[in-house]
């Protein structure tokens, strides 16, 4: 078991996940920069390429740090 764990840590598919907050910040910044450069809203894949992130991580990070929307607030009220 120990060996498998060590193996996993070294495996490139399981990079230590950077904090969602950090990813989310970078994604928004990158989107602004690319929008200015390309003169259009960039594709998610373009942002992923520039930041060297998996689309999966971008999607998860964006949702994880989202400020509670009115929907969520009303759900809990």
């Amino acid at each position: 078991v120990g060996e498998i764990r060590r193996f996993l840590r070294d495996d490139s598919t399981i990079k230590v996940s950077r904090s969602y907050k950090e990813i989310s910040y970078k994604v928004h910044k990158c989107r602004e920069e690319l929008t200015a450069k390309l003169n259009r809203d960039p594709k998610i894949s373009e942002i992923a390429e520039v930041l060297d992130l998996k689309i999966e991580d971008i999607v998860t990070a964006l949702d994880a740090v989202q400020s509670p929307t009115s929907i969520h607030e009303t759900l809990y009220q």
Binding site: I44, V59, I71, L75, Y76
Partner: protein, 151 residues
Amino acid sequence: MTEKTMNHVKIEFSSLPENVSLARVLIASLVAQIDTTLNDLEEVKVAVSEAVSNSIIHGYQNKPDGMVKLEVFIKDGILDITIEDSGIGIENVEEAMTPMFSTIPERMGLGFAFMKSFMDSVSVNSSLDQGTKVSLRKKIISDSSCALMAK
């Protein structure tokens, strides 16, 4: 391209408020499979959240023992989504879809308005005491970019 974006996903989950976020993450990660913008992604997420919250809040009146179904087809750059509950149903669909109409005084009554403004089409089927099915459609990829990517 056609082959690559063809996908079919069906999910059913308990009518818990925390599952709104589950539905958001799910739809986001599906839409992200189509090569699209963050803006499209946000719009679809909001539309789906609104429909799923409606099923939980209105359909099941916040009781956690209902099940909400979400089904997604992706084909040729078109996204077809249905959100279904077996809750109380809607008496007058047309009235319910009117902006600012809500049966709960504190609510804004803008859920259907968001769905209509963010998706290409919204249709609602509902029967009292049987449940509600909302169908949403949006073209994500234009034919030209489809053709381009098929190369």
